[in-house]
Protein backbone atom coordinates (compact mmCIF):
# COMPACT_ATOMS: atom_id res chain seq x y z
CA UNK A 1 0.00 0.00 0.00
CA UNK A 2 2.84 2.34 0.83
CA UNK A 3 4.53 1.76 -2.51
CA UNK A 4 1.26 2.38 -4.36
CA UNK A 5 0.68 5.63 -2.52
CA UNK A 6 4.17 6.80 -3.44
CA UNK A 7 3.69 5.80 -7.09
CA UNK A 8 0.31 7.50 -7.19
CA UNK A 9 1.81 10.77 -6.06
CA UNK A 10 4.51 10.43 -8.75
CA UNK A 11 1.89 9.84 -11.42
CA UNK A 12 -0.11 12.79 -10.13
CA UNK A 13 2.98 14.97 -10.33
CA UNK A 14 3.59 13.93 -13.96
CA UNK A 15 -0.05 14.56 -14.83
CA UNK A 16 0.09 18.07 -13.42
CA UNK A 17 3.23 18.84 -15.40
CA UNK A 18 1.80 17.32 -18.59
CA UNK A 19 -1.49 19.16 -18.19
CA UNK A 20 0.27 22.48 -17.70
CA UNK A 21 2.52 21.81 -20.69
CA UNK A 22 -0.51 21.07 -22.88
CA UNK A 23 -2.10 24.31 -21.68
CA UNK A 24 1.09 26.17 -22.58
CA UNK A 25 1.15 24.72 -26.08
CA UNK A 26 -2.48 25.71 -26.58
CA UNK A 27 -1.88 29.25 -25.34
CA UNK A 28 1.22 29.61 -27.51
CA UNK A 29 -0.60 28.53 -30.66
CA UNK A 30 -3.43 30.90 -29.82
CA UNK A 31 -0.82 33.62 -29.26
CA UNK A 32 0.58 33.07 -32.73
CA UNK A 33 -2.80 32.98 -34.48
CA UNK A 34 -4.90 35.56 -32.65
CA UNK A 35 -4.59 39.30 -32.66
CA UNK A 36 -5.62 42.32 -34.71
CA UNK A 37 -5.25 40.10 -37.75
CA UNK A 38 -6.58 36.69 -36.85
CA UNK A 39 -5.17 33.80 -38.79
CA UNK A 40 -6.36 30.27 -39.31
CA UNK A 41 -3.93 27.45 -38.61
CA UNK A 42 -3.93 26.73 -42.39
CA UNK A 43 -2.84 30.24 -43.30
CA UNK A 44 -0.07 30.07 -40.77
CA UNK A 45 1.10 26.70 -41.99
CA UNK A 46 0.96 27.89 -45.59
CA UNK A 47 3.13 30.93 -44.94
CA UNK A 48 5.69 28.78 -43.18
CA UNK A 49 6.21 27.08 -46.51
CA UNK A 50 7.04 30.34 -48.29
CA UNK A 51 3.62 31.88 -48.79
CA UNK A 52 2.50 35.38 -48.00
CA UNK A 53 5.35 37.62 -46.87
CA UNK A 54 3.10 39.97 -44.94
CA UNK A 55 1.83 37.09 -42.84
CA UNK A 56 5.35 35.86 -42.26
CA UNK A 57 6.25 39.25 -40.80
CA UNK A 58 3.22 39.22 -38.53
CA UNK A 59 3.77 35.71 -37.25
CA UNK A 60 7.52 35.34 -37.14
CA UNK A 61 8.69 38.87 -36.37
CA UNK A 62 5.87 40.29 -34.31
CA UNK A 63 4.00 37.45 -32.65
CA UNK A 64 6.68 34.81 -32.22
CA UNK A 65 9.03 36.99 -30.13
CA UNK A 66 6.07 38.21 -28.13
CA UNK A 67 4.83 34.70 -27.36
CA UNK A 68 8.34 33.41 -26.63
CA UNK A 69 9.13 36.31 -24.30
CA UNK A 70 5.81 35.90 -22.54
CA UNK A 71 6.56 32.25 -21.84
CA UNK A 72 10.14 32.93 -20.73
CA UNK A 73 9.23 35.83 -18.48
CA UNK A 74 6.21 34.10 -16.94
CA UNK A 75 8.20 30.94 -16.33
CA UNK A 76 11.00 32.94 -14.69
CA UNK A 77 8.59 34.79 -12.42
CA UNK A 78 6.76 31.60 -11.39
CA UNK A 79 9.92 29.63 -10.74
CA UNK A 80 11.62 32.45 -8.82
CA UNK A 81 8.54 32.93 -6.67
CA UNK A 82 8.40 29.23 -5.80
CA UNK A 83 12.11 29.05 -4.97
CA UNK A 84 12.08 32.24 -2.90
CA UNK A 85 9.02 31.13 -0.95
CA UNK A 86 10.83 27.89 -0.19
CA UNK A 87 14.07 29.60 0.81
CA UNK A 88 12.45 32.23 3.00
CA UNK A 89 9.72 29.84 4.19
CA UNK A 90 7.35 32.69 3.69
CA UNK A 91 4.36 32.42 1.37
CA UNK A 92 4.45 36.19 0.82
CA UNK A 93 7.90 36.09 -0.72
CA UNK A 94 8.07 36.87 -4.43
CA UNK A 95 10.70 38.25 -6.78
CA UNK A 96 9.47 41.79 -6.17
CA UNK A 97 10.07 41.55 -2.43
CA UNK A 98 13.84 41.30 -2.80
CA UNK A 99 13.95 44.61 -4.64
CA UNK A 100 15.37 42.99 -7.74
CA UNK A 101 12.49 44.04 -10.00
CA UNK A 102 12.49 47.57 -8.63
CA UNK A 103 16.27 47.87 -9.10
CA UNK A 104 16.04 46.59 -12.66
CA UNK A 105 13.24 49.11 -13.22
CA UNK A 106 15.46 51.88 -11.86
CA UNK A 107 18.26 50.88 -14.23
CA UNK A 108 15.90 51.01 -17.18
CA UNK A 109 14.38 54.34 -16.18
CA UNK A 110 17.85 55.84 -15.80
CA UNK A 111 18.72 54.61 -19.28
CA UNK A 112 15.62 56.39 -20.58
CA UNK A 113 16.24 59.48 -18.44
CA UNK A 114 19.78 60.02 -19.67
CA UNK A 115 18.83 59.24 -23.24
CA UNK A 116 21.08 56.19 -23.40
CA UNK A 117 18.19 54.19 -24.81
CA UNK A 118 18.38 56.28 -27.99
CA UNK A 119 22.08 55.61 -28.39
CA UNK A 120 21.74 51.84 -28.56
CA UNK A 121 18.89 49.34 -28.33
CA UNK A 122 21.01 47.38 -25.86
CA UNK A 123 21.40 50.27 -23.43
CA UNK A 124 18.05 49.85 -21.69
CA UNK A 125 18.15 46.10 -21.02
CA UNK A 126 21.82 46.26 -20.05
CA UNK A 127 21.18 49.08 -17.57
CA UNK A 128 18.21 47.16 -16.15
CA UNK A 129 20.37 44.05 -15.73
CA UNK A 130 23.07 46.11 -14.02
CA UNK A 131 20.46 47.43 -11.61
CA UNK A 132 19.29 43.91 -10.83
CA UNK A 133 22.85 42.66 -10.34
CA UNK A 134 23.71 45.55 -8.02
CA UNK A 135 20.73 44.76 -5.80
CA UNK A 136 21.64 41.08 -5.87
CA UNK A 137 25.24 41.72 -4.90
CA UNK A 138 24.06 43.56 -1.83
CA UNK A 139 21.63 40.79 -0.88
CA UNK A 140 24.23 38.09 -1.52
CA UNK A 141 26.66 39.90 0.77
CA UNK A 142 24.01 39.83 3.46
CA UNK A 143 23.14 36.18 2.79
CA UNK A 144 26.77 35.15 3.21
CA UNK A 145 26.84 36.76 6.63
CA UNK A 146 24.33 34.20 7.90
CA UNK A 147 21.36 36.53 7.80
CA UNK A 148 17.96 35.19 8.85
CA UNK A 149 15.11 35.02 6.32
CA UNK A 150 13.52 37.98 8.04
CA UNK A 151 16.59 40.19 7.66
CA UNK A 152 16.80 39.17 3.99
CA UNK A 153 13.18 40.22 3.49
CA UNK A 154 13.75 43.48 5.36
CA UNK A 155 16.85 44.20 3.29
CA UNK A 156 14.86 43.45 0.13
CA UNK A 157 12.11 45.84 1.17
CA UNK A 158 14.75 48.51 1.87
CA UNK A 159 16.42 47.98 -1.52
CA UNK A 160 13.02 48.06 -3.18
CA UNK A 161 12.01 51.29 -1.43
CA UNK A 162 15.27 52.98 -2.37
CA UNK A 163 14.95 51.92 -6.00
CA UNK A 164 11.34 53.09 -6.16
CA UNK A 165 12.25 56.42 -4.57
CA UNK A 166 15.06 56.98 -7.07
CA UNK A 167 12.74 55.94 -9.90
CA UNK A 168 10.18 58.47 -8.70
CA UNK A 169 12.92 61.09 -8.56
CA UNK A 170 13.79 60.38 -12.18
CA UNK A 171 10.12 60.69 -13.13
CA UNK A 172 9.88 63.87 -11.07
CA UNK A 173 12.78 65.48 -12.86
CA UNK A 174 11.84 64.15 -16.28
CA UNK A 175 13.17 66.51 -18.97
CA UNK A 176 9.92 66.56 -20.97
CA UNK A 177 6.42 65.03 -21.00
CA UNK A 178 7.38 62.59 -23.73
CA UNK A 179 10.26 61.15 -21.69
CA UNK A 180 7.96 60.96 -18.68
CA UNK A 181 5.30 58.96 -20.50
CA UNK A 182 7.97 56.74 -22.01
CA UNK A 183 9.32 55.89 -18.55
CA UNK A 184 5.87 55.39 -17.01
CA UNK A 185 4.71 53.14 -19.84
CA UNK A 186 7.87 51.09 -19.59
CA UNK A 187 7.39 50.66 -15.85
CA UNK A 188 3.88 49.29 -16.36
CA UNK A 189 5.23 46.28 -18.20
CA UNK A 190 4.46 45.09 -21.71
CA UNK A 191 5.44 42.52 -24.30
CA UNK A 192 4.58 44.78 -27.24
CA UNK A 193 7.10 45.48 -29.98
CA UNK A 194 9.76 43.15 -28.66
CA UNK A 195 12.00 41.38 -31.15
CA UNK A 196 13.93 38.16 -31.36
CA UNK A 197 17.02 40.10 -30.27
CA UNK A 198 15.31 40.66 -26.93
CA UNK A 199 14.71 36.93 -26.65
CA UNK A 200 18.37 36.31 -27.44
CA UNK A 201 19.42 38.81 -24.79
CA UNK A 202 17.48 37.21 -21.94
CA UNK A 203 17.91 33.51 -22.74
CA UNK A 204 21.47 33.06 -21.39
CA UNK A 205 20.65 34.80 -18.11
CA UNK A 206 17.41 32.91 -17.70
CA UNK A 207 18.94 29.54 -18.56
CA UNK A 208 21.61 30.00 -15.92
CA UNK A 209 19.06 31.27 -13.39
CA UNK A 210 16.66 28.40 -14.05
CA UNK A 211 19.44 25.88 -13.61
CA UNK A 212 20.41 27.44 -10.27
CA UNK A 213 16.82 27.51 -9.03
CA UNK A 214 15.81 24.05 -10.22
CA UNK A 215 18.91 22.51 -8.63
CA UNK A 216 17.88 23.78 -5.19
CA UNK A 217 14.79 21.57 -4.79
CA UNK A 218 16.01 19.06 -2.24
CA UNK A 219 17.76 21.64 -0.13
CA UNK A 220 14.55 23.67 -0.05
CA UNK A 221 12.72 20.51 1.08
CA UNK A 222 15.16 20.16 3.96
CA UNK A 223 14.45 23.77 4.98
CA UNK A 224 10.85 22.70 5.71
CA UNK A 225 12.21 21.62 9.10
CA UNK A 226 14.10 24.83 9.78
CA UNK A 227 17.70 25.92 9.25
CA UNK A 228 19.39 23.86 11.97
CA UNK A 229 17.78 20.63 10.77
CA UNK A 230 18.55 21.48 7.14
CA UNK A 231 22.20 21.97 8.07
CA UNK A 232 22.22 18.71 10.02
CA UNK A 233 20.94 17.05 6.82
CA UNK A 234 23.98 18.35 4.96
CA UNK A 235 22.61 21.55 3.40
CA UNK A 236 25.12 24.41 3.04
CA UNK A 237 22.88 27.36 3.79
CA UNK A 238 25.13 30.16 2.54
CA UNK A 239 25.64 28.51 -0.84
CA UNK A 240 21.93 27.69 -1.10
CA UNK A 241 20.97 31.32 -0.42
CA UNK A 242 23.44 32.57 -2.99
CA UNK A 243 22.07 30.17 -5.60
CA UNK A 244 18.42 30.98 -5.00
CA UNK A 245 18.84 34.72 -4.67
CA UNK A 246 21.30 34.80 -7.58
CA UNK A 247 19.01 32.62 -9.71
CA UNK A 248 16.00 34.78 -8.96
CA UNK A 249 17.98 37.93 -9.72
CA UNK A 250 19.28 36.60 -13.04
CA UNK A 251 15.88 35.45 -14.25
CA UNK A 252 13.78 38.31 -12.92
CA UNK A 253 16.43 40.90 -13.73
CA UNK A 254 16.52 39.69 -17.32
CA UNK A 255 12.72 39.54 -17.45
CA UNK A 256 12.32 43.06 -16.11
CA UNK A 257 15.02 44.27 -18.46
CA UNK A 258 12.93 43.47 -21.55
CA UNK A 259 9.34 43.68 -20.35
CA UNK A 260 9.22 46.15 -17.47
CA UNK A 261 7.64 45.34 -14.14
CA UNK A 262 5.14 42.53 -14.19
CA UNK A 263 3.90 41.78 -10.72
CA UNK A 264 1.92 39.07 -9.05
CA UNK A 265 2.78 36.11 -11.28
CA UNK A 266 5.65 35.14 -8.97
CA UNK A 267 3.38 35.29 -5.94
CA UNK A 268 0.33 33.54 -7.33
CA UNK A 269 1.79 30.71 -9.44
CA UNK A 270 3.33 28.77 -6.52
CA UNK A 271 0.20 29.32 -4.43
CA UNK A 272 -2.03 27.87 -7.12
CA UNK A 273 0.08 24.75 -7.45
CA UNK A 274 1.20 24.08 -3.90
CA UNK A 275 -1.89 22.18 -2.65
CA UNK A 276 -1.80 19.99 -5.78
CA UNK A 277 1.71 18.72 -5.14
CA UNK A 278 1.45 18.22 -1.40
CA UNK A 279 3.23 21.46 -0.41
CA UNK A 280 6.71 19.99 -0.88
CA UNK A 281 9.00 22.83 -2.04
CA UNK A 282 10.93 20.74 -4.60
CA UNK A 283 7.69 19.57 -6.23
CA UNK A 284 6.37 23.12 -6.49
CA UNK A 285 9.28 24.35 -8.63
CA UNK A 286 8.59 22.89 -12.09
CA UNK A 287 4.78 23.28 -11.97
CA UNK A 288 5.23 26.91 -10.86
CA UNK A 289 7.51 27.52 -13.84
CA UNK A 290 4.87 26.11 -16.18
CA UNK A 291 1.97 27.87 -14.44
CA UNK A 292 3.81 31.19 -14.45
CA UNK A 293 4.34 30.87 -18.20
CA UNK A 294 0.67 29.96 -18.71
CA UNK A 295 -0.54 32.86 -16.58
CA UNK A 296 1.53 35.38 -18.49
CA UNK A 297 0.65 33.89 -21.89
CA UNK A 298 -3.05 34.04 -21.01
CA UNK A 299 -2.76 37.61 -19.71
CA UNK A 300 -0.97 38.73 -22.85
CA UNK A 301 -3.61 37.08 -24.98
CA UNK A 302 -6.24 39.01 -23.01
CA UNK A 303 -4.30 42.23 -23.53
CA UNK A 304 -4.34 41.70 -27.28
CA UNK A 305 -7.94 40.58 -27.58
CA UNK A 306 -9.67 43.06 -25.28
CA UNK A 307 -10.62 45.88 -27.66
CA UNK A 308 -9.44 49.14 -26.14
CA UNK A 309 -8.37 52.23 -28.06
CA UNK A 310 -4.94 51.94 -26.50
CA UNK A 311 -3.49 48.52 -25.73
CA UNK A 312 -3.68 47.66 -22.03
CA UNK A 313 -0.38 47.25 -20.22
CA UNK A 314 0.46 43.67 -19.29
CA UNK A 315 1.56 44.44 -15.75
CA UNK A 316 -1.80 46.08 -15.13
CA UNK A 317 -3.72 43.13 -16.53
CA UNK A 318 -1.83 40.46 -14.53
CA UNK A 319 -2.67 42.35 -11.36
CA UNK A 320 -6.29 43.05 -12.36
CA UNK A 321 -6.91 39.40 -13.25
CA UNK A 322 -4.70 37.92 -10.57
CA UNK A 323 -5.67 39.81 -7.46
CA UNK A 324 -9.43 39.09 -7.42
CA UNK A 325 -8.71 35.45 -8.21
CA UNK A 326 -6.18 35.30 -5.42
CA UNK A 327 -8.62 36.89 -2.97
CA UNK A 328 -11.26 34.36 -3.96
CA UNK A 329 -8.74 31.60 -3.35
CA UNK A 330 -7.87 32.96 0.08
CA UNK A 331 -11.53 33.13 1.08
CA UNK A 332 -12.42 29.72 -0.31
CA UNK A 333 -9.61 27.66 1.18
CA UNK A 334 -10.22 27.29 4.87
CA UNK A 335 -6.60 26.50 5.48
CA UNK A 336 -4.65 29.58 6.40
CA UNK A 337 -1.48 30.23 4.48
CA UNK A 338 0.98 27.53 5.52
Amino acid sequence: MSATAATESMIRQHRINLGLTALLVGLSVAGLLLGHVSLSPWQTLAQLFGGDERLAVIVLEIRLPRVALGLLVGASLGLSGAALQGLLRNPLAEPGILGVSASAGLGAVLALYFGLAQVSVWALPVCALLGALLATAFLALLALRDASPLSLILAGVAVSSLAIALTSLALNLAPNPLALSEMVLWLLGSLRDRGLSDVGLVVPFMALGWALLLSAGRELDALTLGEDTARSLGVGLGWLRIRVIGGAALTVGAATAVTGSIGFVGLIAPHLLRPWVGYQPSRVLLPSLLAGAALLAASDLAVRLIPTHQELMLGVVTALLGVPFFMHLLLRTRRTLP
Binding site: S2, D221, D228, R231, V235, G236
Partner: protein, 263 residues
Protein backbone atom coordinates in the same frame (compact mmCIF):
# COMPACT_ATOMS: atom_id res chain seq x y z
CA UNK B 1 33.24 1.51 20.93
CA UNK B 2 33.28 5.25 21.58
CA UNK B 3 31.23 6.96 18.85
CA UNK B 4 31.35 10.49 20.16
CA UNK B 5 34.27 11.90 22.07
CA UNK B 6 34.04 15.56 23.06
CA UNK B 7 36.82 17.25 24.97
CA UNK B 8 36.75 20.58 26.74
CA UNK B 9 33.86 22.03 24.74
CA UNK B 10 33.22 25.72 25.29
CA UNK B 11 30.64 27.78 23.45
CA UNK B 12 30.13 31.52 23.44
CA UNK B 13 26.84 33.05 22.41
CA UNK B 14 26.81 36.83 21.88
CA UNK B 15 30.03 37.21 23.86
CA UNK B 16 28.75 35.18 26.79
CA UNK B 17 30.25 31.82 27.68
CA UNK B 18 27.26 29.47 27.76
CA UNK B 19 29.13 26.16 27.83
CA UNK B 20 32.38 25.97 29.72
CA UNK B 21 34.89 23.19 29.22
CA UNK B 22 32.53 20.20 29.13
CA UNK B 23 33.92 16.78 28.17
CA UNK B 24 31.73 13.80 27.42
CA UNK B 25 31.68 10.49 25.57
CA UNK B 26 28.98 8.29 24.15
CA UNK B 27 29.57 4.68 23.16
CA UNK B 28 27.67 2.43 20.79
CA UNK B 29 24.59 1.02 22.48
CA UNK B 30 24.45 3.84 25.01
CA UNK B 31 21.53 6.14 25.73
CA UNK B 32 22.95 9.21 27.43
CA UNK B 33 20.84 11.92 29.04
CA UNK B 34 21.96 15.53 29.11
CA UNK B 35 20.41 17.09 32.22
CA UNK B 36 20.47 20.41 33.98
CA UNK B 37 18.21 23.25 35.04
CA UNK B 38 16.93 25.80 32.54
CA UNK B 39 19.80 27.85 31.17
CA UNK B 40 22.45 25.27 32.06
CA UNK B 41 23.63 25.11 28.43
CA UNK B 42 22.17 21.75 27.39
CA UNK B 43 20.68 22.89 24.08
CA UNK B 44 23.75 24.91 23.16
CA UNK B 45 26.08 22.01 23.96
CA UNK B 46 23.97 19.61 21.87
CA UNK B 47 23.90 22.01 18.91
CA UNK B 48 27.68 22.42 19.19
CA UNK B 49 28.15 18.64 19.20
CA UNK B 50 26.01 18.55 16.03
CA UNK B 51 28.42 21.05 14.47
CA UNK B 52 25.74 23.75 14.34
CA UNK B 53 27.39 26.30 16.66
CA UNK B 54 31.00 27.44 16.64
CA UNK B 55 32.85 26.05 19.67
CA UNK B 56 36.26 25.69 21.21
CA UNK B 57 37.49 22.24 22.07
CA UNK B 58 37.61 18.97 20.20
CA UNK B 59 34.83 16.72 18.93
CA UNK B 60 35.65 13.37 17.39
CA UNK B 61 33.03 11.17 15.78
CA UNK B 62 34.00 7.55 15.19
CA UNK B 63 37.58 8.65 15.79
CA UNK B 64 37.53 11.45 13.19
CA UNK B 65 37.52 15.15 13.93
CA UNK B 66 34.08 16.70 13.36
CA UNK B 67 35.57 19.50 11.28
CA UNK B 68 37.28 17.04 8.93
CA UNK B 69 34.00 15.39 7.88
CA UNK B 70 32.35 16.58 4.68
CA UNK B 71 28.83 17.97 5.01
CA UNK B 72 27.39 14.77 3.57
CA UNK B 73 29.48 12.46 5.76
CA UNK B 74 28.49 14.45 8.82
CA UNK B 75 24.82 14.33 7.82
CA UNK B 76 24.96 10.54 7.46
CA UNK B 77 26.82 10.02 10.74
CA UNK B 78 24.90 12.34 12.96
CA UNK B 79 21.16 12.91 13.13
CA UNK B 80 19.87 15.92 15.05
CA UNK B 81 16.41 16.70 16.40
CA UNK B 82 16.15 20.31 17.57
CA UNK B 83 13.96 21.49 20.40
CA UNK B 84 10.41 22.48 19.46
CA UNK B 85 10.80 21.46 15.81
CA UNK B 86 8.07 22.72 13.50
CA UNK B 87 7.28 22.01 9.84
CA UNK B 88 6.96 25.13 7.72
CA UNK B 89 4.88 23.35 5.05
CA UNK B 90 2.15 20.77 5.75
CA UNK B 91 3.84 17.78 4.11
CA UNK B 92 2.43 14.29 4.48
CA UNK B 93 3.97 12.15 7.22
CA UNK B 94 5.72 9.97 4.64
CA UNK B 95 7.34 12.88 2.81
CA UNK B 96 8.41 14.47 6.06
CA UNK B 97 10.05 11.25 7.23
CA UNK B 98 11.65 10.86 3.79
CA UNK B 99 13.57 14.09 4.44
CA UNK B 100 15.74 12.00 6.76
CA UNK B 101 17.03 10.17 3.66
CA UNK B 102 18.39 13.33 2.00
CA UNK B 103 22.00 12.66 3.07
CA UNK B 104 21.80 9.28 1.29
CA UNK B 105 20.24 10.33 -2.02
CA UNK B 106 22.33 10.50 -5.15
CA UNK B 107 21.95 13.86 -6.92
CA UNK B 108 19.01 14.01 -9.37
CA UNK B 109 18.08 10.41 -8.59
CA UNK B 110 14.76 9.46 -6.99
CA UNK B 111 14.96 7.65 -3.64
CA UNK B 112 16.42 4.14 -4.10
CA UNK B 113 14.84 0.92 -2.87
CA UNK B 114 17.01 1.08 0.27
CA UNK B 115 15.63 4.54 1.05
CA UNK B 116 12.02 3.45 0.63
CA UNK B 117 12.70 0.42 2.79
CA UNK B 118 14.30 2.52 5.54
CA UNK B 119 11.30 4.87 5.55
CA UNK B 120 8.78 2.02 5.61
CA UNK B 121 10.64 0.36 8.45
CA UNK B 122 10.86 3.47 10.58
CA UNK B 123 7.18 4.32 9.94
CA UNK B 124 6.34 0.86 11.19
CA UNK B 125 8.63 0.98 14.24
CA UNK B 126 7.31 4.35 15.39
CA UNK B 127 3.74 3.17 14.88
CA UNK B 128 2.77 5.85 12.35
CA UNK B 129 2.46 3.68 9.23
CA UNK B 130 -1.31 4.28 9.13
CA UNK B 131 -0.72 8.02 9.25
CA UNK B 132 1.71 7.96 6.32
CA UNK B 133 -0.54 9.85 3.88
CA UNK B 134 -1.90 12.28 6.49
CA UNK B 135 -0.83 15.88 6.41
CA UNK B 136 1.51 16.85 9.27
CA UNK B 137 -0.65 19.77 10.38
CA UNK B 138 -3.63 17.48 11.04
CA UNK B 139 -1.73 15.34 13.57
CA UNK B 140 -2.01 15.39 17.35
CA UNK B 141 0.96 16.35 19.51
CA UNK B 142 1.91 12.74 20.15
CA UNK B 143 1.67 11.85 16.46
CA UNK B 144 3.80 14.86 15.52
CA UNK B 145 6.46 13.91 18.05
CA UNK B 146 6.64 10.39 16.64
CA UNK B 147 6.77 11.69 13.07
CA UNK B 148 9.64 14.04 13.87
CA UNK B 149 11.46 11.27 15.70
CA UNK B 150 10.86 8.94 12.74
CA UNK B 151 12.47 11.58 10.49
CA UNK B 152 15.56 11.51 12.71
CA UNK B 153 15.72 7.73 12.88
CA UNK B 154 15.27 7.48 9.09
CA UNK B 155 18.76 8.94 8.70
CA UNK B 156 20.03 5.63 10.15
CA UNK B 157 22.94 7.52 11.67
CA UNK B 158 25.17 5.84 14.26
CA UNK B 159 24.86 8.95 16.42
CA UNK B 160 21.55 10.62 17.35
CA UNK B 161 21.27 13.92 19.21
CA UNK B 162 17.73 14.74 20.36
CA UNK B 163 16.79 17.92 22.19
CA UNK B 164 13.80 17.47 24.50
CA UNK B 165 11.91 14.98 22.34
CA UNK B 166 9.34 14.35 25.09
CA UNK B 167 8.48 17.96 25.93
CA UNK B 168 4.72 18.57 26.05
CA UNK B 169 3.81 14.90 25.60
CA UNK B 170 1.45 12.90 27.80
CA UNK B 171 2.96 10.05 29.89
CA UNK B 172 2.03 7.37 27.38
CA UNK B 173 3.78 9.15 24.54
CA UNK B 174 6.73 10.13 26.75
CA UNK B 175 7.31 6.47 27.54
CA UNK B 176 6.84 5.53 23.90
CA UNK B 177 9.41 8.07 22.65
CA UNK B 178 11.91 6.97 25.32
CA UNK B 179 11.38 3.32 24.38
CA UNK B 180 12.03 4.14 20.73
CA UNK B 181 15.27 5.91 21.61
CA UNK B 182 16.27 3.05 23.90
CA UNK B 183 15.59 0.53 21.10
CA UNK B 184 17.58 2.59 18.65
CA UNK B 185 20.55 2.69 21.04
CA UNK B 186 20.23 -1.04 21.70
CA UNK B 187 20.56 -1.52 17.95
CA UNK B 188 24.15 -0.28 18.21
CA UNK B 189 23.85 3.50 18.01
CA UNK B 190 24.83 6.16 20.51
CA UNK B 191 21.95 8.44 21.50
CA UNK B 192 22.31 11.65 23.48
CA UNK B 193 19.04 13.14 24.63
CA UNK B 194 18.32 16.39 26.46
CA UNK B 195 15.71 15.79 29.17
CA UNK B 196 14.00 17.71 31.91
CA UNK B 197 12.23 14.66 33.28
CA UNK B 198 14.58 13.10 35.82
CA UNK B 199 12.36 10.06 36.26
CA UNK B 200 12.53 9.19 32.58
CA UNK B 201 16.27 9.86 32.51
CA UNK B 202 16.91 7.50 35.44
CA UNK B 203 14.54 4.89 34.03
CA UNK B 204 15.86 4.69 30.46
CA UNK B 205 19.39 6.04 30.28
CA UNK B 206 22.72 4.29 30.89
CA UNK B 207 24.56 7.43 31.74
CA UNK B 208 23.54 10.90 32.86
CA UNK B 209 25.48 14.08 32.26
CA UNK B 210 24.46 16.87 34.58
CA UNK B 211 25.23 20.47 33.61
CA UNK B 212 25.14 23.48 35.89
CA UNK B 213 25.74 27.00 34.62
CA UNK B 214 27.48 25.69 31.53
CA UNK B 215 29.89 23.39 33.33
CA UNK B 216 29.88 19.69 34.07
CA UNK B 217 28.39 19.08 37.53
CA UNK B 218 28.29 15.30 37.53
CA UNK B 219 28.52 12.37 35.19
CA UNK B 220 27.84 8.68 35.65
CA UNK B 221 25.14 6.16 36.46
CA UNK B 222 21.67 7.51 37.38
CA UNK B 223 21.87 6.65 41.09
CA UNK B 224 25.17 8.49 41.54
CA UNK B 225 24.35 11.56 39.48
CA UNK B 226 20.89 12.03 40.99
CA UNK B 227 22.03 11.75 44.62
CA UNK B 228 20.15 13.81 47.18
CA UNK B 229 23.09 16.18 47.60
CA UNK B 230 23.47 16.68 43.85
CA UNK B 231 19.75 17.33 43.34
CA UNK B 232 19.77 19.85 46.17
CA UNK B 233 22.86 21.54 44.74
CA UNK B 234 21.93 21.65 41.07
CA UNK B 235 18.17 21.62 40.91
CA UNK B 236 17.36 22.96 44.39
CA UNK B 237 14.90 20.12 44.92
CA UNK B 238 14.46 17.06 47.12
CA UNK B 239 13.36 13.82 45.47
CA UNK B 240 12.03 10.41 46.38
CA UNK B 241 14.38 7.58 45.51
CA UNK B 242 13.60 3.90 45.37
CA UNK B 243 13.67 0.68 43.50
CA UNK B 244 10.97 -0.98 41.44
CA UNK B 245 11.51 -4.37 39.81
CA UNK B 246 15.20 -4.03 40.57
CA UNK B 247 15.41 -0.70 38.78
CA UNK B 248 16.37 2.58 40.38
CA UNK B 249 13.85 5.40 40.20
CA UNK B 250 13.77 9.01 41.23
CA UNK B 251 10.76 11.27 41.64
CA UNK B 252 11.12 15.04 42.18
CA UNK B 253 9.12 15.83 45.29
CA UNK B 254 9.80 19.14 46.98
CA UNK B 255 11.33 22.48 46.18
CA UNK B 256 14.16 23.45 48.46
CA UNK B 257 13.51 26.54 50.48
CA UNK B 258 16.32 28.48 52.15
CA UNK B 259 15.18 27.07 55.53
CA UNK B 260 15.28 23.43 54.47
CA UNK B 261 18.69 23.93 52.87
CA UNK B 262 20.05 25.18 56.18
CA UNK B 263 18.95 22.01 57.99
Amino acid sequence: MILLDAEQISVQLAGQRVVNGVSLQAAAGQLVALLGPNGAGKTTLLAALAGLRPFQGRVRIQGRALASLSRREKARTLAYLPQGQIAHWPLTVRRLVELGRLPHLAPWQPPAAADRLAVASVLHRTGIAELAERSFDTLSGGERARTLLARVLAVEAPLVLADEPVAALDPFHQLQVMELLRDYADGGAAVIVVLHDLTLAARFCDELILLREGALAARGAPATVLSAAQLADTYRIAALHGEQDGQYYVLPWKRQTPESAAL
